[in-house]
């Protein structure tokens, strides 16, 4: 995508997304625009210079000069960072969404090379899990998720709140309009699906799946009680991902798809094979790298969680 010409009048370059065109072609009435959102995907707010020597008119000089790319037609590649409407103007802190890695059972893999450092490894079948863990199907290895049963062992946790290095204190309550009450979890449906951390791997309901096979799950507080929880912990001393006032948190596991569980086709097409030190000793595995994206439906905050789907190379 090229940059838009910003030498003259402000222009607006509008396109239908691939999903929009697909729905238009279906002709079933699903192409109906009912709302809008604004985003600032290209903006780097760290360029905002409140101490510019020339005065306040120059604080955002560099930001305003940011060139803007043409519109992407891929619906998942744009509108990543939405602007938020909050009637109050006196906020100094905003809540964020953060991957919680306070305990071993929801940490990412952290071994040395050739380990896949910094990802969650989803063992797509019991054979792979056995090769990693040695014996049994429980996942003692940090960052390894049981992708077949997905009913016990490690999981992924995302916390929401003001992560302000303890000031304000977690003892304070997060203001009600800043508490995230609904999360959108997006995952490539060819690879896996979202299941609950507790209750024997209860499957979350897919809200919709787009033309790129990205499945979206809407998980709400008080409705999806196996997934979204109020974080009532206000203790400073407890190990928590959020160091300030806490809102809610989301817990889930990733269950591998039947395609990954039973075949190497997608691994060969979309991934590769390599020796990895997930367990011990080093072994060869097929793998596909992907992301699970978690977005706060209310606050718009999002996080991409790296996931590596892994199958033992026989």
């Amino acid at each position: 995508m090229a940059f838009l010409d910003n030498s003259g009048d402000i222009i607006l370059d509008a396109v239908l997304t691939d999903t929009g065109r697909m729905r238009l072609a279906k002709g079933d009435g699903t192409f109906k625009i009912v709302k809008f959102s604004l985003a600032d995907d290209e903006i780097d707010y760290s360029l905002f210079n409140r101490s510019h020597p020339s005065g306040s008119a120059y604080y955002d000089l560099e930001i305003m000069q940011t060139p803007v790319l043409e519109a992407f037609t891929n619906n998942t590649s744009t509108m990543k960072h939405k602007l938020i409407s909050i009637p109050r103007t006196n906020l100094v802190y905003l809540p964020t969404i953060k991957l919680s890695e306070t305990f071993a059972n929801h940490k990412r893999v952290a071994q040395a090379s050739p380990a896949p450092t910094g990802v969650f490894v989803v063992a797509v079948d019991e054979t792979t899990l056995g090769e990693i863990t040695g014996e049994g199907n429980i996942c003692p290895n940090t960052g390894v998720l049981d992708g077949e049963a997905a009913s016990e062992g490690n999981y992924i946790r995302v916390d929401q709140g003001i992560d302000s290095l303890g000031n304000p204190s977690p003892a304070m309550s997060l203001e009600s309009d800043l508490i995230e009450t609904q999360y959108i979890v997006q995952i490539d449906d060819r690879f896996g699906k979202i299941v609950s951390q507790a209750d024997g791997a209860k499957e979350a309901t897919v809200s919709f799946k787009d033309d790129d096979n990205i499945a979206s799950y809407y998980l709400s507080l008080n409705t999806d009680t196996e997934f979204v929880f109020n974080n009532s912990n206000k203790l400073v001393t407890d190990a928590q991902a959020i160091s300030g006032p806490r809102g809610t948190y989301l817990q889930f596991r990733v269950q591998s798809s039947l395609d990954l569980n039973t075949s190497t086709f997608l691994f060969q097409e979309l991934g590769g094979s390599a020796t990895m030190e997930i367990g011990s000793p080093v072994k060869k595995y097929y793998y596909i790298d992907s992301n699970v994206r978690v977005t706060g439906a209310t606050t718009g905050r999002s996080i991409d969680i790296p996931v590596r789907f892994t199958k033992f190379y026989t």
Binding site: V34, S37, V68, A71, I84, T89
Partner: protein
């Protein structure tokens, strides 16, 4: 409550219709020559059935080539015996049937009739008893009285150029009517007639099943042997029809032999000085005499198309694209969209652009997303530069989607 979406109200969505026009100039050098010798031009696609030729703007085997228009011609059964009537340049009269009486034995006789029937059905329709109507000079299809076009040369413009329709009153064709065939550039463009649909913007016909059409006339811009024709009988003579939505131009081959039984000898493709005695048979043996070609058993429809193409100096018109648009007024009021979920917006959860509690929050808009009720992104618009949004301003971004 924080939110990232704003729902459109009823008055935030408007629909409009816009007509977009593009100028389409086609020079004769594309239509004839440039890409090979006559009859073997690489930009001309011929077919085994020989019923029409396709003209491209580049050798048609190239993926860069664009289809411009097709050329064909046709006549009905009346033409077989009607022939040409009127006064010859030497003062004698045409005797009609004897000149063209043998046309029914022409190997392309049925194909020409087929084309006439096909174009007639589509462009002028049927009468009350189901007979295909004849093309009429002034559009009076129902009347048996009046001049009918029993023989026509058709230019069928590709939709790539014509789009939704040819703009009324914009069509212009400059065509040479010089009798002499020559490979030398420009020779056949002598005795140049300028054909237009003047006045069609406000005066056109609507009794065609293919939509609206106008009358083509020879205009005063014509230049015959270095002089104008404003005082000659050819001036303002009807010479064809243009069907705007169908993108079809139908021209009478009478263009090439003088009009209204005139003794006026210029502007004809044939004349007495060509060696014969009248406009039809004078150039019977010349490969480029269009009317003669119609009656020459040795000549194909491709020969006629070639002879026609060679004389075109220029075709131009404006096309029309009908844009149906929906305009979405994205209104961001003073207290909307002042914060951002951009990861760089916060440093340790503290808003970077606010130094103190009483500072206004600031955000910068670069994108507008249009969503369905289930939050699927259906359309996206990008601003060419960031727009600053803070509580001291409100703005309306007008996003137009064309269909």
């Amino acid at each position: 409550m924080a939110s990232t979406f704003k729902t459109f109200l009823n008055d935030d969505i408007a629909t409009t219709r816009t007509l977009l026009h593009e100028a389409i100039p086609i020079t004769g050098s594309i239509i004839y020559g440039t890409y090979g010798a006559p009859g073997a031009e690489l930009q001309i696609k011929t077919f085994a059935h020989g019923m029409f030729q396709s003209v491209y703007d580049y050798p048609f085997l190239s993926s860069s080539a664009n289809h411009i228009f097709d050329v064909t011609h046709a006549h009905n059964s009346v033409f077989q015996t009607q022939g040409v009537t009127g006064t010859k340049s030497d003062g004698a009269t045409y005797d009609g049937a004897s000149q063209l009486g043998a046309i029914s034995t022409h190997p392309f006789f049925k194909k020409r009739k087929n084309i006439y029937g096909q174009m007639g059905q589509v462009l002028v329709g049927h009468d009350v008893v189901g007979e295909i109507q004849k093309f009429d000079q002034d559009g009076d299809l129902l009347s048996a009285i009046g001049s009918k076009y029993n023989c026509l040369i058709f230019m069928n413009f590709a939709r790539l150029l014509g789009k939704d329709e040819i703009k009324k009153g914009s069509f212009e064709l400059k065509i040479g009517t010089e009798q002499t065939h020559s490979a030398t550039a420009g020779v056949m463009n002598d005795n140049l007639l300028t054909i237009k649909d003047d006045g069609a913007a406000t005066n056109y016909k609507v009794n065609s099943p293919a939509g609206e059409y106008g009358i083509l006339k020879i205009t005063g811009d014509s230049n015959v042997s270095g002089g104008g024709i404003s005082t000659q009988p050819e001036y303002d003579a009807k010479c064809g029809l243009i069907f705007y939505q169908a993108g079809v131009v139908a021209l009478t081959p009478d263009l090439f032999m003088g009009f209204v039984a005139s003794v006026y000898n210029k502007g004809k493709i044939t004349n007495a000085s060509g060696g014969g005695t009248d406009g039809v048979d004078a150039k019977m043996n010349a490969t480029q005499n269009i009317l003669a070609l119609l009656n020459d058993n040795a000549k194909t429809m491709d020969d006629v198309a070639l002879a026609f193409r060679q004389r075109i100096e220029k075709v131009c018109f404006n096309n029309t694209t009908e844009l149906n648009s929906t305009i979405y007024f994205c209104r961001a009021s003073h207290n909307d969209f002042n914060y951002s979920s951009n990861p760089t917006y916060l440093l340790n959860s503290k808003i970077r652009v606010k130094g103190k509690r009483d500072h206004d929050p600031i955000s910068y808009i670069t994108s507008v997303g249009l969503y369905s009720s289930d939050n699927e992104l259906l359309a996206v618009a990008k601003l060419s530069e960031p727009l600053r949004k803070d509580p001291t301003n409100d703005m309306t971004l007008r996003v137009r989607l064309d269909y």
